[in-house]
Amino acid sequence: MMKFRFRRQGNDPHREKIKQDLFAFNKTVEHGFPNQPSALAYDPKLQLMAIGTKSGAIKIYGAPGVEMTGLHKDTAAVTQIHFLYGQGRILSLLDDNTIHLWEIVQRENRSHLVEVHSFNLPGRPGIESTSCDLLALGTEGGGVHFLELPTLTLLNKSLFQDEIMQSIPEEYKCGKSLGPVESLQQHPQDSDKILIGYSRGLVVLWDLNSRHVDNLFLGKQQLESLVWERSGNSFVSSHSDGGYMLWAVSSSNPCTHDPISSTIPYGPFPCKAVNKILWRTTESGSPLVLFSGGMPRASYGDRHCLTILQDSSHVTLDFTSRVIDFFTIHCTDKDKEFDDPSALVVLLEEELVVIDLQMAGWPTVPAPYLAPLHSSAITCSCHISNVPPRLWERVISAGQQQCPLQNYEVAELKDPTQKLKTSAFSPQVLCCHEDGTVRFWDASGVSLKPLYKLSTANIFQTDGDHNDSLTQAGEEEWPPFRKVGCFDPYSDDPRLAIQKISVCKYSGKLVVAGTAGQVIVLVLSDEKSDHMIDVATVDLLQDREGFTWKGHDRLPPKSGSVVFAPGFQPVVLVQCMPPAAVTAVTLHAEWNLIAFGTSHGFGLFDYHRRSPVLARCTLHPNDSLAMEGPLSRVKSLKKSLRQSFRRIRKSRVSGKKRVVVNSPTSKVQEANAQLAEHDAEVTPVQRRIEPRSADDSLSGVVRCLCFADTFLRDGTHHGPTMWAGTNSGSVYAYALDVPSQEKFSEQSVEALLGKEIQLMHRAPVVSIAVLDGRGNPLPEPYEVSRDLAKAPDMQGSHSVLIVSEEQFKVFMLPKVSAKTKFKLTAHEGCRVRKVALSNFTSVSSEEYSENALVCLTNLGDIHVFSVPALRPQVRYDCIRKEDISGIASCVFTKTGQGFYLISPSEYERFSLSARVITEPLCRVDVERPHDLSAHRIYTKINRLLKKIKWEN
């Protein structure tokens, strides 16, 4: 009997098995551009590119879909990465003086990046250079060490400056050292020779076998980088004065005093250093010179530039973020005489830019991956699953007209991989940005592909309208700047930022809502259009007295007609008054209705007749804070000062601790630090325990809105309803009288308040969803009428699931009597941040699926509950609880996947479903020769396998 009593729900073995078949947590892919990249490398043989980041990650990219990630144990910045050409091995040098060797290995039928060796360096390394069996390391002290590969063992043939000094002419020495090693370059034809460049300007061609100096080049300008010419007969050096020099290598003259030529391209005024230079020969004639930096210090010293020079052609690529590194894709075949570069790949701090070097004018090529998601800060995101093929095609064609693609394929990407098949129903991610744009991405694969960009800024009058004149002036300008890249962190007007979005994928309608209370209804159109937009204003205050709005003004709409390109074209603009940011929006295309809410109230708008239906103020009479706009809620100065002092004191304490060495003075310091810490404990953080009161600030904020066809007034007649939930736990349910399709034009929609529910715990209402008689969520508009979903059960009793920050509760309709509930906060001490109803299909049977409530809490963990019983099923840790922006950005899909931002530029994709997983299953087959000669490496890419499991 006791046993029976204590057997808990979750321990039923049958249920456990079902749960295992339904739920599994995996973090699968990172979408977007790596945050804070710090190093770049390219392997022309395997056609792989590697990017290292400041957080110690290495990411490898091949053909689209081929992605691998490795993470160093220590989070030190990756300063350099080098491929061992063709071996599938990568060397990384970290900020903390360690070298790591990584290998691409096959496991479970897919490739992984695995660290195999690491080596701790004795001194501070300057530069490394590799051939396939030897790693040369230059140090800041001026020495060069050699390590055997792939074992990373130090060879006993280090080269120190004394040895070089002996062969230097006396007049050059001047008693000074040569400075740190700046560059090490292996001879392109003879792998036993290595070119060593010292900071002071001396360049030495060193023979490894005979251990003697072949040639000396007595440069007098501080050296920045070196590059060989293909033949090995000459090399180019770049310098800190902004110039570069071409040197001839002749065996007859062991000591060269002067270069063949020396140029300062942006002289004569002082220039910044040329950090890196590349010299590529072409069959057609003069060589191509590519270098970063070298700009005139006074006038353009702050620009991030890369120059391409060939004969008289000169382009200065002007980027919006710092150049990290760059390489060219060129012919590496030893038999060919020329480099003939086909493309230039530039890694910038915020994006990757590819330039076609074969086309005249060197145009930019859109990269197939690593698209910067964050070209403008992401303000909200939304996932649409099962996009109908018709809409998909129309969006793609709209996107193609936006940016006509020439020569999409770059050499780098010509890999023998099968193209990603666009499945009939493709998922999309919409990112909404601070500059008022909405970007559509194809999220069906491992890499996010940009599809279409929608801008809402053009229907408003903003300050940023005059930039046409700026582009005109560029004709006679020197240097010949060309703006490249799309990363643009500066928003013209923060009011344009989009806060909420709602889509009807069947009718091609879209509603976006922004910071200045603007709600825009857009309709997908394949034709260009020139029309006026209907503007309506809805007063959400409803003559409430005693309130004044102190926030921003609304955005003035443009008068007259505006030209719109094919794609989503605005039809109606609704402006909320006061123009506070829109906090919730929803669309019902079948009823031609949109609902929107701000911190003051909510409104209902018939966009077919262009007429408001309802406006309701949700403000509490005592709540004056909501009125003052977004800027007034700052902490008192005194309080913030006190806090910042406390913070300083704390950081000092921890700073001291780090330098503690066992000496008498340090002991005193330690004691002081402990005292200080104790002092900090005297005024600890306190939390007040008080139930929420009705007049909490911002209690009127509308948190969620939803439309549903259900039973609100009695149990026999169902009809359209609209539900709104606020920050103070109030729920308003309206019965709508929507005329039939034919009468839309004559008859107006009416809304009648049906029910008001005040949740006693007064926690903010996060989500409202109506469940049908079988406990399934109601289908989306049009889904039933177009036979895309099973009709909901309209016979049985419906229920409404109301999710607040503290608890989930299912109420029966129409009586609104509580049926089931789960008090999450009371049990776990965590609060609901994001919820979604998802459908989980079992791995063992396609027939079996369950609906579940997926919930992300403020602690970053994910809970899954059954619906409508609200029983906890599984729990996973997902996001660090400190990562507030990650938690705030999380989006769930209808099939149990999710996305969140791990950095401003990257989405982490995760999967809660055991069946629906999108993960990179790529394979790079590498044959590593046992004979480690650099010239006999057999490599081939057998198969680049990419598999996406996608079930619906």
Binding site: S611, I757, Q758, H827
Partner: protein
Amino acid sequence: MNKNHRVPSNRTLNAVEVKSKFGAEFRRFSLERSKPGRFDEFYGLLQHVHRIPNVDLLVGYADVHGDLLPINNDDNYHKAISMAAPLLRLFLQRKEEADYSAFGTDTVTRKKTPAALAAVLLRPDANKKKPPIIISLPKDFRPVSSIIDVDILPETHRRVRLYKHGQEKPLGFYIRDGSSVRVTPQGLEKVPGIFISRMVPGGLAESTGLLAVNDEVLEVNGIEVSGKSLDQVTDMMIANSHNLIITVKPANQRNNVVRNSGGGATSGSSGRSSDSSTSFYGYSTPGLMAMTPSHIIQNYEPDEESEEEEDLVIEADRGAKLVLQAGARATASTSMPALPRYEPHLDLRTSNGTMASSASAGSLNAHRGLEGRSLEEDGTVITL
């Protein structure tokens, strides 16, 4: 009005024979069983027949079991009349010298016969020195706090229940992070803990006297707080604030509940149960409780469910009339001034709108204030 003065007793089934005694005097009269009238009329009648019009009386009667039970309202008056078989014996006392202890069911065992009962009443001064302070019965009070589960907790711990519902008083306390020392197999160990850091003067927490600054919080509504952050515990407490049960280890260990030390009671192991006087809840037998400490948490559930605050649901469409009455002050109108085309629906939506504006947060509060208690307790869906 069916009063028959000094009517000799007739033995018809329709009449109730009344023998009323006040001090040493008897009065006899009869009442019609089917039409007893109201208590205040009866009370007036008693004053009249005893000729003591200005004396406050306490009316008692002896029921069939011989218990002395009070008659002080219509209900127990009717009960007394209907139960009279057929004689109804009344005992009147002056209110100021009334002996309340005489009432109650215990009187059955203590005083076997009505005669003995009467003897007590006739000589009130014999066993009573001065009139006690008159206090209301327990049902007239709302519990504010209680110490519960004394029998299953270690003596060093205290489980306090705070009843916030319907109170205007703030809960009134703050918590903080801190560290406490625990005895572990490895020796003494410093572990992080949550402590009460401040009491708000005049708050509920302070007024109970059961919680104090520096008390360590161990559990919130049956869930251990160890391993949880300050913010988590804060959220848990706020989420449970309507019916908060905190288990603390008081900083001051001198006021602990003293147990009957007969069995050398160690925590939770003895079968002996000794509730403190304020303990309300002795749901299960102590023996079972002691054996199943992990199950104890469950004890809250049924109780909590019943006391659970219910969400307030307002049926707007049927509520229009009442709201119009009550809502004469509601001035806000929902008609959108900018939208003249909705005028035709104005009357419909005005009722609605008045509802809306008056029943918005503010008036919801008002409703709660006025009718809240009954709403919260029995959880009926109110129809305005």
